[in-house]
C-alpha cells in the first residue's frame, strides 16, 4: 500500500515547515537587531573594521538616483545610502501633508518617503534618513514604527541611521530640528536604530571665525543633555575642520560607557592645516567607532598616514568607581556621566560617585587627586549663581545605606567654582549628642584659591587629619604642560606636604587642613564625590584617582608571610 509513503511525505513536509518557521523566527529576531548595528561592523568584510573604508551614496532622493544605485559596479559598491526627507507643503489644506524625498515642485520627480523606503529596503544597504524639519519627524517615525508590524511593508534588515541636524551652528542658514522632539520620538517609535545628531549648515564655512569651528566643553555638556539618557546607539556627525579642533572633546564622547560613534565628513570648504589631531583621533579611538565620509583629497591624506593604534591609556578608571544616581526634581538632565577620560557631573546635585577602594586600616594615608573643570551654563542677566557651588568630596565612615544624595555624618571637602575651598565636619545630630569628644575638634577650615575655570586638587586623608590643596590651572592641556602641574610636584608624593612656597611663579593656591577624630573602626574613610549647589554649574573631572597606601599593613603582611614560610 502507499500509506507509509504518504506518512513519510507528511512528516517531511511538516518538518520542512517547522524548519522554515524556525528560520523565519530567527530572521525576525535578527531584523530588530540589524537595524541597530553599526555600519562598519555589519560590513565587516568590506570595511575590514575600519570606518575609513566606508562608502556613502549621498542624496539618493529621486528615481534616477535610485536607478543609478542599481547600476553600481559590484566591487565598488556603496554601503550606506543617504536620503533627505521633508514634509510636502500643499497649497490646499485638503491635501494631507506627506513626507517626501525632495521638495521639488514637479510632480513627476516627486518621490514619497514610502516609495523611497520600499525601493531602498531591497537594495541591501545601510540606510540613513536625514530628517530635514521638525514637522517631518513624527510622521516618518510613525510609519517606520507601523512598518515593523505590517507584513506588506518593506523589511528592514540592514543598519538604519536616523539623522537630524539638531544643533544650531554659528551663522546657520537653516533652522535646527528640535532635539527633544527628535530624540523622544525616535526613542518611543523606533528605538532599534542608530540615532545621529549633527549641526545645521552654514552659508560659507570658510568665513566663519576660528573660535566657532570647534566643539567647546560647554557644547559637549549640551550634547550630553540628549545623548546621556538614550539607550540606543548614538552617532555624532562632525565636520572635518571641527573634529580637528575638538580632539579632546570627541575622545571624551567616544570614551563614554555607552555606544557612541562619530561620523567625520568634509566638503570643499574644509581646510585643515594641522592634521595631527585627526590622525591622533583615528589612531586613539577604536576603528569601528569612527566613520569617515570625506572628499577624495581628504581621504587620501588620511590613507597615506599610518593608522596603527597608539597607546591611549584611560585617564579615569571606570571600574574603580560606582555611580549612584537619585531621581531629580527637574526635567533637566541631572546625573553623572562616565567616560574613560573622566566623569562629568550635570544638573542638580543628585548623583554620587563612590570609590570601590576598600578603606585601609589606620595608620595609612589615602589621596584623592584630579583636575576639575567648571562649565557654568549661561545664565540670564541678573540671575545669581549660588556661591556654594562646586565639587564635594565626602569622606564617610560607612557608605552602605545611601538613601539620598545628601551624605550626612561625613567630612566634606568642598572646592567651589569661585576658588573657595573648605573642609567641614558634618555630624548627624544624634551622633553629636553622644560624643562629647567631638567638641575638642574644630569643625571647619576654609581657604580661597584664585578664581579660575580649572583647579587641580589633592585631598589627603591620614585618618587623624584631612588636608586639601587646590591650585588654579589653565584649562587647556597644551598650555598646562608648560606650566608646573600640582600633580607632578615632588613634595606631594611624600607624606609631609608643606604649604606651597615656590618663589618664581607661585600660583595662588589654597592649602587647608583639619584635624579629625579617628573612625571607630580604625580604618580610613570611604570616598564619595558629588556636586553641590547650583544646577547651572556643571563640571568635568579629569585624571581623577583615589590612591591609598598603608605602609604598615604592607609590612605586617610581609612579616606574616615570612612567619608562615618558616613555620612550615
Amino acid at each position: 500500500s502507499r500509506f507509509p509513503y504518504d506518512a513519510t511525505m507528511i512528516f517531511i513536509t511538516l518538518s520542512i515547515f517547522s524548519l522554515l518557521g524556525g528560520l523565519y523566527a530567527t530572521a525576525g529576531f535578527r531584523d530588530a537587531r540589524a537595524t541597530r548595528m553599526s555600519v562598519v561592523d555589519f560590513w565587516k568584510n568590506e570595511t575590514l573594521g575600519d570606518g575609513l573604508n566606508l562608502r556613502v551614496a549621498h542624496g539618493v532622493n529621486s528615481w534616477p538616483a535610485l536607478v543609478e544605485q542599481l547600476q553600481e559596479p559590484f566591487l565598488n559598491k556603496s554601503m550606506l545610502l543617504e536620503g533627505d526627507v521633508f514634509l510636502q507643503n500643499h497649497r490646499r489644506p485638503r491635501h494631507r501633508a506627506i513626507p517626501v524625498m525632495s521638495p521639488s515642485a514637479r510632480a513627476a520627480d516627486r518621490m514619497t518617503f514610502k516609495e523611497w523606503l520600499r525601493e531602498v529596503a531591497s537594495l541591501r544597504k545601510a540606510i540613513k534618513i536625514n530628517f530635514r524639519s521638525t514637522d517631518v519627524v513624527h510622521p516618518v517615525l510613525e510609519y517606520l514604527h507601523a512598518a515593523q508590524f505590517d507584513p506588506s511593508s518593506p523589511v528592514l534588515d540592514y543598519p538604519l541611521i536616523l539623522h537630524a541636524d539638531v544643533f544650531r551652528s554659528y551663522k546657520s542658514i537653516e533652522s535646527a530640528v528640535d532635539p527633544s522632539v527628535f530624540v523622544s520620538n525616535t526613542e518611543n517609535l523606533f528605538p532599534d536604530a542608530t540615532l545621529s545628531l549633527g549641526w545645521t549648515k552654514q552659508a560659507n564655512f570658510t568665513l566663519v571665525d576660528e573660535k566657532h569651528k570647534r566643539i567647546s566643553w560647554r557644547q559637549l555638556m549640551h550634547i550630553l543633555e540628549y545623548v546621556a539618557r538614550l539607550d540606543q546607539p548614538v552617532m555624532l556627525s562632525v565636520r572635518l575642520t571641527v573634529a580637528a579642533n575638538s580632539k579632546e572633546q570627541l575622545l571624551w564622547l567616544l570614551g563614554m560607557d555607552k555606544q557612541v560613534s562619530l561620523l567625520i565628513w568634509s566638503d570643499d570648504h574644509d581646510e585643515v592645516d594641522d592634521w595631527k589631531p585627526i590622525f591622533d583621533l583615528r589612531r586613539m579611538a577604536t576603528k569601528n567607532r569612527v566613520l569617515y565620509d570625506l572628499l577624495e583629497k581628504h581621504r587620501d591624506i588620511l590613507q597615506r598616514e599610518s593608522a596603527d593604534p597608539i597607546e591611549n591609556p584611560p585617564t579615569f578608571s571606570m571600574e574603580s568607581w560606582r555611580a549612584v544616581v537619585f531621581s531629580s526634581s527637574s526635567t533637566d538632565l541631572s546625573t553623572v556621566v562616565m567616560s574613560a577620560r573622566g566623569p562629568a557631573f550635570l544638573g542638580k546635585p543628585t548623583a554620587l560617585l563612590l570609590s570601590h577602594a576598600h578603606p585601609q586600616a589606620f595608620p595609612g594615608e589615602q589621596k584623592i587627586r584630579g583636575k576639575v573643570h567648571f562649565l557654568p551654563k549661561k545664565t540670564g542677566k541678573g540671575a545669581e549663581v549660588d556661591e556654594e557651588s562646586g565639587v564635594v568630596i565626602y569622606l564617610v565612615d560607612k557608605i552602605h545605606d545611601l538613601q539620598s544624595p545628601r551624605v550626612d555624618d561625613a567630612i566634606e571637602v568642598f572646592i567651589g567654582y569661585d576658588g573657595r575651598v573648605s573642609i567641614e565636619k558634618k555630624m548627624r545630630r544624634s551622633n553629636m549628642k553622644n560624643k562629647s569628644s567631638e567638641t575638642y575638634y574644630d569643625t571647619k577650615a576654609t581657604g580661597q584659591a584664585e578664581k579660575s575655570h580649572c583647579y587641580e586638587f589633592t585631598v589627603t586623608d591620614a585618618g587623624w587629619r584631612v588636608s586639601a590643596e587646590v591650585l588654579p590651572v589653565s584649562c587647556s592641556d597644551e598650555k598646562a604642560r608648560g606650566k608646573r602641574s600640582l600633580l607632578d610636584l615632588p613634595y606631594l608624593k611624600g607624606l609631609s606636604s608643606l604649604p606651597y612656597l615656590d618663589e618664581t611663579d607661585a600660583p595662588p593656591s589654597a592649602y587647608i587642613q583639619l584635624e579629625t577624630p579617628l573612625t571607630r573602626s580604625r580604618t580610613l574613610r570611604s570616598v564619595a564625590i558629588s556636586k553641590r549647589g547650583d544646577p547651572s554649574v556643571d563640571f568635568l573631572l579629569d585624571r581623577l584617582e583615589h590612591s591609598s597606601c598603608a605602609r604598615l599593613s604592607f609590612f605586617v603582611s610581609i612579616i606574616l608571610l615570612i612567619t608562615v614560610f618558616f613555620s612550615r
Binding site: 531621581s327 531629580s328 526634581s329 527637574s330 543628585t350 545605606d401 538613601q403 571607630r520 573602626s521
Partner: protein, 334 residues
C-alpha cells in the same frame, strides 16, 4: 532568648514606618484630603485636569480648606517660599505658597501648595509638620462673587513633570515599606516576575540586605519586615514540605497576611521571612507598617524578600502600588 529580647527592643524603637507613596493630612479639618465639590457652585471642578472657573484644565488639585486653618507638610523634604501668582498686583492678598522638594522616599518629587501664610520660609520639614495657615485664594473677589468652596491648590511634579496627586492623598492604596533599610521598596530584577525558589509564583523580589549595627562595628543583624497592608496575620506559611510531609530547611519560611479595611480581599505572603516570635500565636490584627517579621539569616538566604500579592485568590500585578509609582487601585475585575 537574648536575641528575641534584643529584637523586641529594636522593634519598639522603630515602631511603624511611614507608609510609602501616601501623603498625610494637608489641611486641618480635612482628615481625608477631600477635594472641593465637583461640580462646584459655578460648575468648575477641583480635580486633576478638571476645568477651573477660568476654563483652564489644570495639572493640579483643589483641596477643600477654609482660610485660617492649619496647613501641614504632606511629605518630607526641603521647603521654600514661592509666589503662586508671580507677583500679580490684583492677587497680592493670596500670593504666597510653599514649595517642598522631597527627600527620602519622595526624592525627585516637588509639591507646591498655595495659598499659605507661612510660619517659616525655609528649612527641612517632616511630613505632618505645621507650615502655616491657609489663605483665601480668591480674596480679591467680592464676597457675593465667590463661586467656589475655599480650597488650597496642590500641584505635584516628578522629574519636573506634573503628576496626578489624587491617589497619593486620598484612598491611597500603596503598600508600605516592606524591608528595613529599603525605604523605597527597590526591586531586584523585573517587577512581577515568577521565581522558582518560591514555587514559581509571580511576585516582587524586594531588596533586603543585612543591617549593619551602628554601635558595634562589623556586626550585622537581620532586617525587620513591616506589614505592607492592614490586615490579620495568619502566622507562618511554608513553601514546600519534604517526602515525609514535614516542613524542613532553614529558608522554608514565610509570613501570611489577610487584608482588612481597605485591603479586604487581599492576601500577602512574604517569603524568606520569619514570623516574629514575640507576637502572640494565631490570628490577630496588624496595621500597615507594623513590624511583623525578620528576614531569614540562613546561609542560603538571599539578600531580598519575595512578596506575593493575591486579590480574591488570584495573583495580581500591582507593581505601581509596591513601588509607590501610583497609589490608585488598578481595575482588578476583568
Amino acid at each position: 532568648m537574648r536575641e528575641s529580647l534584643l529584637l523586641l527592643a529594636t522593634c519598639l524603637l522603630v515602631q511603624r514606618v511611614a507608609s510609602l507613596g501616601c501623603m498625610v493630612k494637608v489641611c486641618d479639618g480635612n482628615d481625608k484630603n477631600e477635594l472641593r465639590k465637583c461640580p462646584d457652585r459655578d460648575g468648575s471642578c477641583g480635580e486633576y485636569k478638571g476645568k477651573r472657573s477660568d476654563g483652564i484644565l489644570l495639572d493640579a488639585i483643589d483641596l477643600r480648606c477654609d482660610a485660617g486653618r492649619k496647613v501641614f507638610a504632606p511629605i518630607d523634604g526641603q521647603m521654600e517660599f514661592f509666589r503662586p501668582f508671580g507677583g500679580k498686583k490684583d492677587k497680592k492678598c493670596a500670593d504666597a505658597g510653599v514649595k517642598i522638594e522631597g527627600t527620602g522616599q519622595w526624592q525627585g518629587y516637588v509639591v507646591y501648595i498655595s495659598s499659605v501664610e507661612l510660619d517659616h520660609f525655609g528649612g527641612s520639614v517632616k511630613a505632618g509638620d505645621e507650615l502655616g495657615k491657609a489663605m483665601d485664594r480668591v480674596c480679591n473677589e467680592d464676597e457675593s462673587q465667590k463661586g467656589v468652596e475655599p480650597h488650597l491648590q496642590i500641584k505635584v511634579t516628578k522629574a519636573g513633570q506634573p503628576i496626578d496627586p489624587t491617589y497619593h492623598l486620598q484612598q491611597c492604596m500603596c503598600t508600605g515599606q516592606i524591608c528595613e533599610g529599603n525605604i523605597a521598596n527597590t526591586l531586584l530584577g523585573a517587577p512581577f516576575k515568577s521565581d522558582s525558589r518560591y514555587n514559581g509564583v509571580k511576585g516582587y523580589d524586594i531588596e533586603c540586605p543585612m543591617i549593619e549595627e551602628d554601635d558595634e562595628e562589623g556586626k550585622r543583624r537581620a532586617p525587620i519586615i513591616y506589614s505592607p497592608i492592614n490586615g490579620e496575620i495568619m502566622g507562618r506559611a511554608r513553601t514546600h514540605f519534604d517526602a515525609n510531609g514535614y516542613y524542613s530547611g532553614c529558608e522554608n519560611d514565610a509570613v501570611f497576611i489577610v487584608g482588612t479595611d481597605q485591603w479586604i480581599d487581599f492576601e500577602v505572603r512574604i517569603y524568606n521571612a520569619r514570623y516574629r516570635e514575640d507576637l502572640p500565636l494565631g490570628r490577630h490584627r496588624i496595621v500597615q507598617g507594623q513590624p511583623i517579621a525578620v528576614r531569614l539569616t540562613c546561609d542560603s538566604a538571599p539578600d531580598s524578600v519575595f512578596v506575593e500579592i493575591r486579590h480574591q485568590g488570584r495573583v495580581i500585578d500591582v507593581s505601581d502600588m509596591i513601588t509607590a509609582e501610583s497609589c490608585k487601585l488598578p481595575n482588578l475585575f476583568n
